[in-house]
């Protein structure tokens, strides 16, 4: 597939801002949606708007079929062992909060430890702080080095016999570095510590095989991987999910309800309380099919060309400090957070916006990481497979123009 063919599938990409063609480089915040997802979403909203599972009527049966077949698609995409291990949520944040509550209730005792990395998104920090407070546990931090790589050499000291869970992003939303998750999992397991992987960025840019990674939990958001917003996935190893109590009560998650006591539905229903996102969740199927099809050789080579062009342009400019510097060819996705000497990230973002370039500026939901690098914020350009080399060149040109206006 060529990039032009791919772009045709995304109606949002042909938009203009301030009379200029939109160059959308905020893909790590949310990615544009392809027509196949929009069509599925609309079709379900219009023709199959019925609540799931219970009703016997035709459109409810069809809606349920769509919803459950998305579960099969997600299972296959992640190569999970069974469909019962796939829980639908409203997003990666909801998935992490679910684990923080239910895993916490089942397994965490006072004095136990949780480890998170310094480069985590707030969504993979705050739920653990809340859990630690609730359970009297201790939160420990795995630092990153000056180039943004995890200090895995410190794991030996950090992970003790009291450490129950380590939480780490497969790829940081700020640094874009592909973390050595498989090695981390293998080390943690040797110490009897479970691992949760935040795949919010990883699922978009790398193939995911949860059995190969060996992780105990894997979470991601639908809207970052072409699906409808308000959709999300929690993969959990069955053995752990079975032992964890429900997070929320009500709706689908019950077996029988009596005032003398309620029993819960088997997996995965136990964790899917309340009316589900019946139009959104099924869009995960076409979305993940698309994501899969983008692993095509032509697009991959093209994407690498775009990434290398931007990487070189930023690294060769001594006014620019890039956070998350790759050490090899395969450990950086086309996501670039940086700061410019003498120019504020907000000013740069405002000027780039006026040139038609949408980038992110600020703390990017990773305040501890901003503190680590001694900045109040950064500028981030995050590319998707549909971004062209011409767009990358326009971005670099516009950035230079913005810098010259400010400095």
């Amino acid at each position: 597939m060529t990039v032009e063919e791919l772009r045709k599938q995304f109606p949002g990409l042909s938009g203009t801002v301030y009379g200029k063609p939109l160059v959308y480089l905020d893909n790590a915040a949310t990615i544009q949606r392809p027509a196949c997802v929009i069509d599925k979403w609309t079709d379900l909203s219009v023709h199959h708007n019925a609540n799931l599972h219970r009703a016997v009527h035709k459109i409810a049966a069809e809606a349920t079929e769509e919803y459950e077949s998305a579960r099969d698609a997600v299972r296959a995409f992640l190569n999970a062992g069974s469909r019962e291990e796939i829980v639908f949520t409203s997003g990666a944040t909801a998935s992490i909060n679910l684990v923080a509550f239910s895993f916490g209730e089942a397994f965490i005792r006072p004095g136990d430890e949780i480890v998170v990395s310094e480069s985590e998104h707030h969504s993979n920090i705050v739920p653990w702080q809340m859990m630690c407070e609730r359970k009297g546990a201790v939160l420990k931090v795995l630092p990153v080095d000056d180039e943004g790589h995890l200090r895995t050499d410190l794991l030996e000291d950090l992970v003790t016999d009291r450490t129950r869970l380590l939480c780490v992003a497969q790829i940081s939303n700020v640094l874009g570095i592909v973390n050595p998750v498989k090695e981390i999992v293998s080390f943690c397991h040797s110490k009897g510590c479970a691992v949760l992987v935040d795949g919010a960025q990883g699922v978009v840019h790398t193939g995911v095989d949860v059995q190969d990674l060996g992780c105990d939990f894997y979470v991601f958001s639908g809207h970052k991987v072409y699906a409808a917003p308000g959709t999300g996935v929690l993969y959990g190893r069955r053995e752990l999910l079975e032992q964890m109590p429900p997070y929320m009560g009500g709706g689908e998650m019950i077996d029988t309800v009596k005032f003398t006591g309620t029993t819960y539905a088997p997996l995965p229903g136990k964790f899917e309380a309340g009316t589900q996102n019946m139009a959104g969740t099924p869009t995960l199927k076409p979305a993940l099919e698309l994501a899969e099809s983008l692993r095509d050789r032509e697009l991959t080579e093209y994407g690498n060309k775009v990434r290398d062009y931007v990487l070189n342009a930023l690294l060769s400019d001594d006014r620019i400090r890039l956070y998350g510097v790759p050490r090899g060819t395969f450990d950086k996705i086309p996501l670039f957070s940086f700061s410019v000497k003498g120019a504020h990230h907000e000013d740069l973002a405002l000027l780039l916006d006026k040139m038609g370039v949408a980038v992110r500026s600020g703390q990017m939901c990773a305040e501890p990481l901003m503190d680590r690098f001694g900045v109040t914020g950064m500028l981030r350009a995050s590319f998707a497979p549909y971004n062209t080399l011409e767009e990358a060149e326009y971005f670099v040109k516009s950035l230079n123009r913005a810098i010259s206006m400010l400095v």
């Binding site: 990230h345 907000e346 000013d347 914020g377």
Partner: protein
């Protein structure tokens, strides 16, 4: 004629006129950057947390003093476009009486298109700055 000898409305009209010369958004920003660079210096020791305006992506410090019934503002930011906006607010509202300030609806910012472009969701804190100016006026009525 000094700015304070003109009415508040007259100064606003001047600013609206200045901005109307620029058709392109980028040119308006270029002008704001110039204004930002020319903003009078703000003392480092006044960059304290109680003068820091919350809710901005850039940091903004805003200070004021009363002199002979008039409010004088000074402010600073680590972002230059925000400093440009500050300079507009100071040009219009500094040296005015609290009554003059409260009698204004701050709509001149809409007329140059800045408010819609820099709405609170854009995290740039224009609305917070306006609130701080109004509060200063209210507390000195």
């Amino acid at each position: 004629m000094k700015e304070t000898e003109k009415t508040l409305k007259e100064v606003q009209e001047e600013i609206v006129d200045d901005f109307s010369m620029y058709e392109e958004w980028l040119d308006k920003y270029e002008y704001l950057i110039e204004l930002g660079k020319d903003l009078s210096p703000y003392p480092e020791e006044a960059k304290t947390d109680d003068r820091l305006i919350r809710g901005c992506q850039s940091r903004v410090w805003l200070d004021w003093r009363m002199e002979e019934g008039r409010l004088f503002f000074s402010a600073d930011s680590d972002a230059i476009i925000t400093k440009g906006i500050i300079s507009l607010l100071i040009r219009v509202y500094s040296g005015r009486t609290p009554e003059e300030i409260l009698g204004d609806d701050f709509s001149f910012l809409n007329r140059i298109g800045l408010k819609e472009n820099l709405s609170p969701t854009r995290a740039n804190g224009l609305v917070s700055m306006i609130q701080t100016v109004r509060k200063a006026a209210e507390s000195n009525l």
